[in-house]
Amino acid sequence: MLILTRKSGEKIRIGKDIIISIVENSTGQVKLGIEAPQHIPVHREEIYNQIQAENQAALVSERFTTKLLDSISSRYR
């Protein structure tokens, strides 16, 4: 991993169109500003991982869900 030392207000450029700025650096927390093209999604890592795990756990199979749907779908009509 590349490790760079930066002060508040300084920036890092990744490739030709991603810029990370150090907005503020106080005790224990760093505030970053991120400029990236629209096609590059930017997420907090732990939240993205959580969504990945939820999606993978949400896959359905007919066997396990039809019965449950039978009991609840009428209440949403």
Partner: protein
């Protein structure tokens, strides 16, 4: 440039797999799938970043539930519910930069769905209101977006009303 079109041979392959039952999922027999209505997810969805073409299939026997199903991998199928059934309001407002992912600026020009999951205790569903799926039907574009509101949760209890 996004390639939104599905080639003839791809369609033929999908149709073959459809008729062999792979796409039928919960809808049982008589499912009519409109292959001209494929939704393109440019970024895939988290956990399935490599999949980009999805169908959103209403479950006629179980309204208002639908299935979001991958064309490339039919086993990737999730139950979804239009977000209006979640009794949430402004909390589900989608940011302008997220709307750009489906090429719309119109607050009414897209549909919002929440992905459902069987809760670990069984017998109940939870809804992922933190990361709803937004679809622009006119342009056949979709994205799963991550919202910031505190009232939202990846495992929001699905209350029966």
């Amino acid at each position: 440039m996004i390639n939104q079109t599905v080639s003839e041979s791809q369609t033929e392959n999908y149709l073959h797999r459809f008729h062999s039952g792979e796409y039928a999922m919960l809808n049982g027999n008589g499912t009519e799938v409109d292959f001209n209505n494929v939704i393109h997810f440019e970024q895939g969805i988290p956990g399935f970043e490599f999949l980009s073409q999805f169908l959103i299939v209403p479950l006629f026997e179980y309204p208002p539930f639908l299935v979001l199903q991958s064309l490339e991998a039919p086993e990737v199928a999730m139950l979804v519910l239009p977000s209006r059934f979640m009794e949430l309001g402004d909390e589900l407002d989608v940011k302008t930069e997220d709307l750009e992912k489906i090429q719309t600026k119109d607050k009414n020009g897209f549909e919002t769905y929440v992905i459902l999951k069987m809760s670990s205790e069984g017998g109940k569903f939870t809804a992922n209101t933190k990361a709803p799926v937004i679809i622009n039907p006119a342009k056949q574009l979709g994205a799963q977006v991550i919202l910031d509101h505190q009232a939202l949760d990846v495992q929001h209890p699905l209350e029966l009303t």
